[in-house]
Symmetry: C2
Subunit: 347 residues, 2 copies
Amino acid sequence: MKPKSVGIRDVAKHVGVSTASISRTLNNPESVSPELRMRIDAAIAELGYIPDAAARALSSRRTRTIGAIIPTVDNAMFARGIEALQSYLSLQGYLLLLSTSGYDPETEARQAQNMVSRGIDGLILRGDMHTDALRRLLASQRIPFVNVGVYHPDKPYASVGGNNEAAAYRACRYLVELGHTRIGMVAAISSNNDRATARVSGVRRALAESGLSLKPEWYIEVPYHLDDARQGARSLLSSPREGWPTAVVCGNDVIAYGVLLEAERRGLNVPNDLSVMGFDDLEWSRHLRPSLTTMHVPTDEVWTRAGEYLVRSLSGRAAALHHEVDVSLVVRESTSRPRPEGGRKAR
Amino acid sequence: MKPKSVGIRDVAKHVGVSTASISRTLNNPESVSPELRMRIDAAIAELGYIPDAAARALSSRRTRTIGAIIPTVDNAMFARGIEALQSYLSLQGYLLLLSTSGYDPETEARQAQNMVSRGIDGLILRGDMHTDALRRLLASQRIPFVNVGVYHPDKPYASVGGNNEAAAYRACRYLVELGHTRIGMVAAISSNNDRATARVSGVRRALAESGLSLKPEWYIEVPYHLDDARQGARSLLSSPREGWPTAVVCGNDVIAYGVLLEAERRGLNVPNDLSVMGFDDLEWSRHLRPSLTTMHVPTDEVWTRAGEYLVRSLSGRAAALHHEVDVSLVVRESTSRPRPEGGRKAR
DNA sequence: ATTCGTCATGTAACCGTTTACAAAATTATC
DNA sequence: GATAATTTTGTAAACGGTTACATGACGAAT
């Protein structure tokens, strides 16, 4: 009844050699004579032998699996990053174990625990907000990991990403230079999200530098979904028109899209009545109407680099602990100079 | 130097019992006396013992891991589905091993091979177009699997999804009933994609039923990205205006969005000049302007059910082999009756 | 011809659990 | 109170590879 799937001993018997030779052809082909290697390869193919990774992992203490824990995959940016990471790892002969935390550090730690138990050679985490338990776990198990989406050259553990604070500063600075003085922000929920927090700081710094500040009524935090963003924009624009900002920096492109939709719905002209600045430069951002001015983050590169770092360090090669990627301003149609105040004719 | 992470024997020694009892408290707590269980749990916590899943998998032949292979995660629908699946599995104590095939059956088979070797208890695949090698692999290893996104009650293996052919028929039928006779289609690339193919068939059937047909110059296939879809729409609308269809069915919402964008760019009024029908009902589809008439597919449900099927069958409980989900027509703003021909005034 | 080094291959212990089976302890039955 | 039935715990053999070490074969050096 049970065909008892073929094991390494079956192959060995079939060829008439020891299991060691089979194992060697599999893991270190050069160490076996070409003639024998050929016979073994043939036998493997003939018998349809598939090495059991559990046994392999058990005795070799390596799994060729990389774990990644992201807040959610239902977000164009993460999806893209994971896609890039997955192809890279697959190319390198690694497998990807994926989990989501829903932006909750406790869940993240739990998932990591799971993965560690399951056996991962390295771990990719989003951001740098992790529980102490998680840090201890990684340290005690000596699991290499890398924080993605942040750049913290001062920290003793790896990171790859853009400098969110600086990028947000650039974004806001640009609006200031256009002449805006009434600038608001619709940010992502900042609790447990260091990227969101950094972006807010960047905006604040740019404003402060010009003697401006982020008025509480012009600062609002919303969850990551289109509906929420739209709702947020609605409340931002709920005061009498004189109280509106002339420009808003958004925590990311999805939020910006929500703002755009709501502005349009209210009959506002973007950018003339309201300049909108996004963040991340998602695929569709340049297709919007008006197309979105935003900060371009090279997501693919970030994730691929993260994978690269782990693969390199696992194979004992040197790898830079920190990698900063360029976050660049992409000016499109959703921003412009503010409409001159006081009813003078716009130029 | 090496702290030699604690194993089951350390725990056993610490408590003064055999390893079997430790193993039992872990896997089958009821089979151990409450008093002992308590002491063991305490010891586990105290020593920070984490069971080694590789050893566990090796000796128990189960991994509590489910694999999923999808074409790409960079696609709102898959992303959403994976998100739903991940939370469900996580709740059930399973881990998700994810891979992408890039719509290539060979790659899919290779990835599956990888996963099987790595040890998965069950596998989720997209669609029903798999290589023979893959089918043989699954059969010989007796790995339960389920095809997602299709509904094939006649097949001997599990499937959960909507009936694409019927849904496309509904979609097209609706346009016909509105009075359209000049109907085109911008489909997804149909090679290696049975869902895309089924949708085309459904449209063809609806047309045929009313004595219409899908003119070759009104049928076009495009890849899944916004740019491509837009390019596709462009070529559809490149002929002189008299040669245009008055309505197009799109293979999915992304394509529909591309068509919308291109139509707008050309100054066409949707729906008056051109009705656009989408497919899938992505999150943002109802936010578009005009909002998109489309076929709603309950993605979350599909993927959760798929996971449920596997978890149930793995735990020996009965599970329906096939599950059909409702695909429903959602009428929004992007479709209307065709503008009357011959310059008569539109009502 | 003998000795030595090199390279290819074999031997067998070990990786950290699970689990069939055996043994011991407890409870139920008469 | 003795015996049977039942529950709890222990013993030790897998599970399927890897790899340190041993062995043997062969050619080079003396």
